[in-house]
Amino acid sequence: MKYCIIDISSSGISLIVAEHDGSEINVSFRDRASLTLVHYMDGRRLTSRGVEKLVAAVRVMKEKGRKLGADELYLISTAALRTMENFEDVGKEVLLKTGVPVNFISGETEAYCDYVANTGYSVYPNTALLDVGGASMEVCALDGGERHYFDFGVIQLHDKFVDRIQPEEKEAKRIKKFLERRFDKAELPEEGEVSTMITVGANANALYDLYAEMFGAESSGVRAMKYKKFKKLAKTLICGQERSRLILDAAPEKLYSVGIAALVTKTLAKRFGAKDIIVSDHGVKEGYLRLILSGELIGAGYRYADEEEAFFFDPVTEDASDVREETAEEPVPSEAGVPAEEAQEAAEESAPKRHRGRPRKERSEEELAAENAPKRHRGRPRKERTEEELAAENAPKRHRGRPRKERTEEELAAENAPKRHRGRPRKERTEEELAAENAPKHHRGRPRKEE
């Protein structure tokens, strides 16, 4: 089964396509596009232009997932949309125009997704994971130790300390002091307690791109940044002549955030005494997928197959000359002991029901079968399917990710038996009456499934 996860962040939209073979998740494709939502804000509301851009970006990514053969798609967003005043309206617009529901996930969930995605790094001793996000930050020990969550991220630091777009030297010093105070207060590990520092997230990836642009990528293939070189990068991003060109070339969507992200990373790396900063390939998208597949999280997904196989029901066309004349029904012989009138009422009630007001012409069984057979959308060619495929398709489906307990045959039978509406008192009925009532009914507009 192939999954596509799309993540909307404050500066871009990214996608992974991953295959799940029952036990392992293998990411086969990654992509990213720039989308600086901050430019399309009016105060704390996303403008209609911003929504257009967001919808267009989601459509492009959705189409990429479809072309890569994904079966199911999940669209997630963290602080980027969550912090907007009109985030619910934005979510509705995205759903309306793309058909894909937006799953808004909290900062804590996001951090947990990062943790779940990176537990593989716990083979390294004393590993700390850092995620510098837009609206929150997290530092946690990958060996199951302490997890520190900070309710501020790059966006808040920018709003609080930075006057223009990128921080100046004085502003950088103020940010550093603020961070050191908060890290001391949170009693984060100090030098010697952490051997390996792993960073995740879009800001970490942007920092690596800038590092590679300045110093070249490490030959080992691991995305690691040497602390000494990273310090030079951080200094360039604050006061270097080339900083704007460097950012616009390598990470234009991170113009507002990468300088601050570099400060945070450098401050922590210095605190931990880390000589290397590893940038993880795995982030919130991978973690989210793992949690969905394990059932720990339930998300609203989108199935590509639903889009391709829409069913359309032909409206019944009525011909006035074919209107059946209402004939008086013959009185039903009453059962012994039952008044004739009551018997008549019971018979009338149990007779097959028709939609009031619109007379239907008599149809043969073949016509009814043809009318109620599953229909296909005109003009869209459908491939031939075998009976097994059709049966598999029409079998009752269950929502993936939600574990279902085993049920006995009796429980299943009881669950699938016809149900009655609670709260409406029903009088006792005989078996014949029940059978007549449960006989197939004809309701316009609703397709009949194969029995």
Binding site: E52, K53, R164, I165, S244, I247, D249, E253, L255
Partner: protein, 356 residues
């Protein structure tokens, strides 16, 4: 509010019309507005030159081609290189922006101008870009001002070439501007009924082109007109890097493929073949009615963005609406002709050869 306007890069019809719209909007709607024109594009900003522009300076510009402020090409790569004194051009522009006391700077230019505008924006200047190019290759906008006037000029030129080609039974190649993007060649070629259109985005096979020319003559066509973009490349050259391709062409004594292609077609088909380069007439002249309207709309919208305090963006056309994009999103990106797009397919469906 103090506004600065500059025009940078190659010129085109519509620049004056856009400036007029910005100026009139500002004087009509923004209180205490002061506008300065910066001559010769970013060069003027680097040198710190400017001249005040009153409302009357914007009158009479709607139907005038070119730019009254003058323009120069200032390559993006030179912006962050330290010069004498240690300061880079970017730093000098930023310092002059502050010295002039500008609240907003309008930059009218193409893709390169937008890259520099994004740099200025990243350094804290309030910049609004406007998409100017005859090539229509600025990312994020359906059309740029100056494009349709250039299409009209190129179409008329190709129409004129057709009459002489038909009279002599010749094949004439017309080289149209468009180094990276083939929009101008594609539109002018379709509008003028060119039998073959060659674009930079679709490396062409010389055998197919010769075959198309031969087939047209066999069908009884009196001539063949081939619209060639200046950036068109042979499929055998497609694998070369830009410098290698330039070297190969220099060896032949030319910078574009047009002359070489004309020679080969003449040899293989046996028909008289000529070529001509339209050149700078495509940039010149007064703007068409379409470009006047578009320029007025873009300039007015840009003025509105400034009044709202929305900076770091560039004005764009999306469908029928005028809207905007964030500068960092479009800086450095180009909008090229998709080889499988509807317009290309429809040209091929009516028998136009694209060399593939």
């Amino acid at each position: 509010m103090k506004i600065g306007i500059l025009t940078s890069g190659g010129d085109c019809a519509g620049l004056n019309a856009v400036m007029r719209a910005i100026g009139l909007y500002a004087y009509e709607n923004i209180k205490n507005c002061e506008i300065v024109g910066i001559p010769e594009g970013y060069g003027g900003l680097i040198r710190g030159e400017s001249a005040p522009m009153s409302r009357s300076d914007f009158e009479g510009l709607l139907n005038v081609g070119g730019t009254v402020l003058g323009t120069r090409r200032t390559p993006f790569k030179t912006m962050t290189v330290p010069e004498e004194g240690g300061a880079t051009r970017l730093e000098r522009m930023r310092a002059n922006y502050k010295k002039m006391g500008l609240d907003c700077l309008f930059t009218l230019g193409g893709a390169g101008t937008h890259r520099t505008a994004a740099l200025l924006c990243a350094e804290g200047c309030n910049v609004i870009g406007l998409p100017k190019t005859i090539d229509n290759d600025i990312y994020g906008t359906d059309v740029t001002f100056g494009f349709h006037t250039a299409v009209d000029v190129a179409t008329e030129a190709i129409d004129r070439v057709r009459t002489t080609a038909a009279s002599h039974g010749r094949t004439i190649l017309v080289e149209v501007m468009g180094n990276k993007a083939g929009w101008l060649t594609l539109y002018a070629g379709i509008a003028a009924g060119a039998e073959v259109i060659l674009l930079p985005e679709i490396p062409f096979n010389i055998d197919r082109v010769c075959e198309a020319v031969r087939r047209n003559y066999e069908k009884g066509k009196p001539c063949n007109v081939i619209a060639v973009a200046e950036g068109a490349i042979l499929d055998s050259e497609a694998a070369y890097k830009k410098k290698e391709r330039a070297f190969v062409r220099t060896e032949r004594g030319e910078t574009t493929v047009t002359a070489h292609l004309a020679e080969v077609i003449g040899e293989r088909t046996g028909m008289e073949t000529r070529h001509t380069v339209l050149g700078y007439i495509q940039r010149g002249g007064n703007p068409s009615a379409y470009d006047r309207i578009l320029s007025s709309r873009l300039g007015s919208f840009a003025g509105k963005l400034a009044a709202e305090g929305r900076f770091g963006v560039t004005v764009a056309v999306a469908g029928r609406e005028i809207t905007f994009n964030a500068l960092p999103e479009i800086a450095g990106k180009y909008k090229l002709v998709e080889p499988d797009s509807e317009i290309v397919r429809s040209a091929e469906d009516i028998g136009v050869c694209l060399g593939r």
